[in-house]
C-alpha cells in the first residue's frame, strides 16, 4: 500500500523537532520541582518543620532540572 518515495534517501539525521525539545525541557523543570518538592513535603510531614523542606526541595529540584536540561539538551 505504501509507496516508498525516496526510499534510498539516507540524508543525515536533522536535529530533533524544536517543539519536542521544548516540552522535554519544561517537563524536566517541572518534574524536578515536583519530585523534590514532594520529597521535601514527606520530610516535612515526618519531622514537622513548618514547610521549610518543601521550599528547599523545590529549589534543589529546580536546580537539578536545569542541570538535566543543560546536560541532555545542551550542545
Amino acid at each position: 500500500m505504501v509507496r516508498r518515495v525516496m526510499a534510498g534517501d539516507q540524508s543525515p539525521q536533522p536535529p530533533a523537532g524544536g517543539a519536542g525539545q521544548g516540552w522535554v525541557a519544561i517537563s524536566y523543570l517541572i518534574a524536578g520541582i515536583a519530585v523534590w518538592g514532594f520529597i521535601g513535603w514527606l520530610v516535612d510531614q515526618r519531622f514537622d518543620l513548618g514547610g521549610v523542606p518543601i521550599g528547599i526541595g523545590a529549589v534543589v529540584g529546580a536546580a537539578g532540572g536545569i542541570y538535566l536540561i543543560v546536560r541532555r539538551l545542551g550542545v
Binding site: 539525521q13 523537532g17 520529597i39 537539578g64
Partner: protein, 258 residues
Amino acid sequence: MSTSLASEIPWPPSVDDFFLPPIVEGTNPWFTKVTLLVWIAVAALIIFFLVTYREPKIVPTKRQWIAESIYGFVRNNVAKDLIGHDGIRFAPYLTTLFCFVLLTNLFGIVPGIQMSPNSHIAFPAILAIISWVLFNVVGIRQHGFAKYMKNSLIPPAPWFILPLLIPIEFVSTFVFRPFTLAVRLFANMFAGHMILLVFTLGGFVMLNSNAWLAPVSVVSWLMAIALTFLEAMVIVLQAYVFTVLTASYIQGALAEEH
C-alpha cells in the same frame, strides 16, 4: 443545574454537559453520542484509506492525492525529520494517530455534532498509554532492558549528583510523559467545548433575561462563531503536537545516548 428565569437553558455550563445520556433511552448507558462518534471516526478512517489506496495510480486521482498528502506529511515531516531514516517504520502508527486525533477533535466544531470524544480524559489517556508502551517497547528492543533503563535514567553527570537527578529523570520520562500527553489534549478539547457553551448559551441567557441585554446576545453569538475558528486552529495544532511528541519520545528511546 439552575435555569435562568422562564427559560430552560442549562446555565452555567458545567461538567455535567459532557456526560450525555444514552442515545436510546433505557438501553446501555455507555452507548452515548461520544461512543458513537469514536466508532464513526474509526470506520471513516478505515474506509477512507481503503478506498483511496485501492488500485493506486502512478498519476494519483484526487482522493488518492489527499490520502498520500496526509501520509506523506506525517512520514516526511514528522517521522523522518524527528526520528531519522529509522522513523519511517513508525510512519503508519503516527499517521493513524494523527488522523484519529484530528478527526475526533474535529467533531468538536462540526455543526450539529459539536462534541469531541477527546474532551473526555479516557480517550486521550488510552492514546497516551499506547504511545507510552510503544516508545518503551521500542527502546527495550533496541537496547535491551538494562541498557535502555541506563540510557533513560542515568544522565552524563558526576556520581554525587546522580541521586538528585535519577528521580527527576524517572518521573519526567515514565510518569509525566503519558500524563502530559493525555492532559494536554483533553484540557484543550474540554476548555474549547466549555468556551463555546459559555458564549452560545450565554447569548440565550441574556436574550431571555433583560430587554437591554438582548442586543448583546448577538455579540455573544458572534464571539461563539469567532471562537469556533480559533478552535479549528487548536484542533489541528493539538493533533500535530500529540503526533510530534510521540515521535520525539520514540526518537529519544532509539537514541544511543540522549
